[in-house]
Symmetry: C2
Subunit: 459 residues, 2 copies
């Protein structure tokens, strides 16, 4: 047995009270035999423990455990939790499952790993100091440049590279924004149904959520309460999550108007704005904002891969310094290597080539799903018709609810999920989310068959 192991065993035996404080250790010959080691190895371990003060030698008498060896106080540990932690621990709302991330995952199966490997490889040489330094908390410069150009090109966003801050994903951006902008009791206007993972963050910061219904044209802005004192709104204008549908220009302008009247800021979560399969998408809400009220959030999780952990925020001037300071305080920035690879991936056109491929792939799958649903379940199921995103939102008619269908579907492991977790109001349980992005064409047809059988057996 090596000296280090002997040391560890003795150390544990002393701390765990096998040799109590003040007691004498067995003679070295006996102890070495017990531990299955040599006396010399034992001796070195004992010397280390003497140096640490856990043992002491009394010449001529042997080795003793120190009197001061800690034995534990016996008090149970009861941490003093903050108000934030208490909200985190006790909000029942937080126990519900959120799904845009983990369950509604996008398997970018066609992702060009060989190119990605090449991008990474460039920066993995000893000559390059890039890995050795802490990155800028705002993010890697060339990636910020590439993103600014990309969002202008693809999403009509008005910004300079300086406005772009790299985050580990939309979730981190939401957390930083919530801590900068929400005090306990503050009202926040949100879509209902909506992206509950965002709402969790707001609630743990003490927000009073004000759910506003959505229809096929996004948040019904005129339904925001007249007496609302909200100074913050959260929307998914490109493709309302989870219902689907782009926010109309009229609503966008109404929301900007509301924000100007309220002196409010708007968080635009553009999580999949690039995944539109039919013509040009509407430009981002941010492109209509002349005041600097819109905070734009984007991510690489949907088009590249989720485990990449890279997202970005495009901030109005007034929020730039506070956000950057907060980012710096809480996390020194995203890994430089990944950022450098992503920057090249975008700048060299791989991003848009891959996006084009994904759009084709998903367009076909979505189209097939919609046609299959229509022919098989057209009379019983309604669904949004927007050619975008990774899932289709289904509404059951004829008094059917998700509970009638989902339990029986479980055995088939289809990517079909309940809609109710996305509602802030308890009344809605007639919706299903059908994620088509992972399924082959054959699987789509087969899945609709199974779904159809289950639904029709209930009607």
């Amino acid at each position: 047995m090596r000296q280090r192991q002997v040391y560890e065993i003795l150390h544990q035996q002393i701390l765990s009270g096998i040799y109590p404080p003040g007691s004498r250790l067995p003679a070295s010959r006996q102890l070495a035999a017990e531990l299955g080691t040599s006396r010399m190895t034992l001796q070195t371990a004992v010397q280390q423990l003497v140096a640490e003060g856990l043992l002491l030698t009394r010449p001529g008498s042997g080795v003793y455990v120190a009197e001061t060896v800690p034995s534990g106080s016996g008090h149970p540990v009861e941490p003093h939790f903050s108000a934030w932690a208490e909200r985190l621990r006790h909000a029942p709302f937080l126990q519900r499952q959120g799904m845009r991330g983990s369950q509604l995952r996008s398997f970018a199966a066609s992702f060009p790993y060989d190119i990605w490997r090449r991008m990474l490889g460039r920066y993995l040489s000893t000559d390059d100091a890039i890995l050795n330094r802490y990155g800028s908390p705002a993010g890697f410069g060339p990636l910020r440049e590439a993103i600014a150009a990309k969002v202008a090109r693809l999403r009509g966003v008005n910004c300079t590279a300086e406005q772009v801050i790299i985050v580990s994903g939309i979730q981190q951006a939401l957390d930083i924004l919530a801590r900068l902008l929400i005090d306990p009791g503050d009202e926040v206007v949100v879509e209902n149904p909506g992206y509950v993972s965002a709402y969790r963050v707001f609630v743990v910061y003490g927000a009073d959520l004000q759910p506003v219904p959505v229809d096929r044209s996004g948040m019904i802005v005129s339904d925001i309460l007249a007496e609302s004192r909200a100074r913050l709104a959260f929307v998914t204008p490109a493709n309302q999550f989870p219902r689907g549908g782009a926010m109309s220009l009229e609503r966008r302008l109404a929301l900007l108007d509301w924000a100007a009247r309220q002196q409010a800021l708007i968080i635009e979560d553009d999580y999949d704005g690039e995944l539109r399969y039919d013509g040009q998408p509407l430009a981002a809400l941010q492109s209509l904002d002349r005041d600097g009220r819109v905070i734009y959030l984007g991510t690489f999780s949907k088009v590249l891969f989720p485990a990449l952990r890279l997202g970005y925020v495009i901030l109005p001037e007034v929020l730039h310094r506070p956000f950057l300071h907060a980012r710096q305080l809480l996390d020194r920035g995203a890994p430089t290597l990944t950022q450098a690879a992503a920057a090249d991936f975008i700048a060299e056109g791989h991003f848009e080539r891959h996006l084009k491929k994904l759009r084709q792939l998903y367009r076909v799958r979505r189209q097939l799903l919609v046609e299959s649903l229509e022919s098989r379940l057209g009379s019983i199921v309604r669904f949004t018709g927007e050619p975008a995103g990774l899932h289709v939102w289904l509404t059951l008619t004829g008094g059917l609810s998700e509970g009638d269908v989902l339990p029986r579907l479980q055995a088939h492991e289809l990517p079909i999920y309940p809609g109710s977790p996305y509602f802030l109001t308890p009344d809605a349980s007639t919706n299903l989310i059908f994620n088509f992005s992972e399924l082959t064409e054959e699987q789509i047809v087969a899945s609709v068959d199974i779904l159809g059988r289950e639904i029709l057996s209930k009607v």
Copy 2:
């Protein structure tokens, strides 16, 4: 010019008021000429803008800018900042430079990039689904296993892999702990001088810092105020930052005693506990903790490379769920690829091989620095003698202060920094930090020469 560019230019011209709301666009032939494009391309762009509602066509009359085009409210944007944000924006303490990260950087020049590249390469194949999934918020399982084994082996930490949570670095761990454990007005016991980047986090959460002096045996625990109501302490026992020196066993036991009496938790920041150059380091404070009061923080920034952005927390049972929930809420976890590579790097022995190399390298550099300082400046400068870490903490005597020396050193760009930013008390300005980790032996000798010349010219 491509259609998209034409669209973007028109879009901007409309929003920026070059074509005001209600106005008529120039005839298409004229506009196409102005924009340097074909009429067909222009036509497609105009159709897109019509679809978005920014333009409208009046048959026989031409194309008009919609009346509802947003022009900005004219109100300046005044966000409602949270109390947290106000503390962030106005704490003068926050403006001071912290340096353990960006300035006291460790250049792991001897890092085996070829091995790292190989580890990454393994997971970069299309066959492996690892990149496609969101990781667990606790971290990648095999990495947690590897860390639990490593900290037991190298630092005597008692833990299971379940107690290990991967974070993006010590800074993120501190942020999560602060939000879980600190309410405005809560007292926190900290070392002085100390790791101010941690203190910033605490202060922005509203902490009332209670600085406790340190000497060569770490925090002088008996100096904690008897009337303290602190439920949290922050220490760097392995190698006090920035002064250097390991906390003695007696002080460690006293601190654990204090924590049991106060019902307090202790954050053990073991940022460089592995970088000890002379025999076995003392085991971590965590190894003496029988109650579950010590939260252990470790990082790969010092031994691997800072831009890796991987650290870990080893949590007492009672904090595990709240920490994990918080981590999940604020950030979906570290990039899986990096974690997988790090897991293999440790499990296959590369970590400890590299650590051994670094220890040899830094031992020699540190020894040379200490000897050079002694022979050249022994009478004027005192320094801590602990063979550990990446820098040496110097104390100037004879009435010299950092301001007497540093301005004249600036032109030489030596890695020598003022000590005063690490103090919470305003009286101390007689210390310098000499970071030897980046310097070759020749550079160390030359640097001490320069430093010696500047100091001796002032005596």
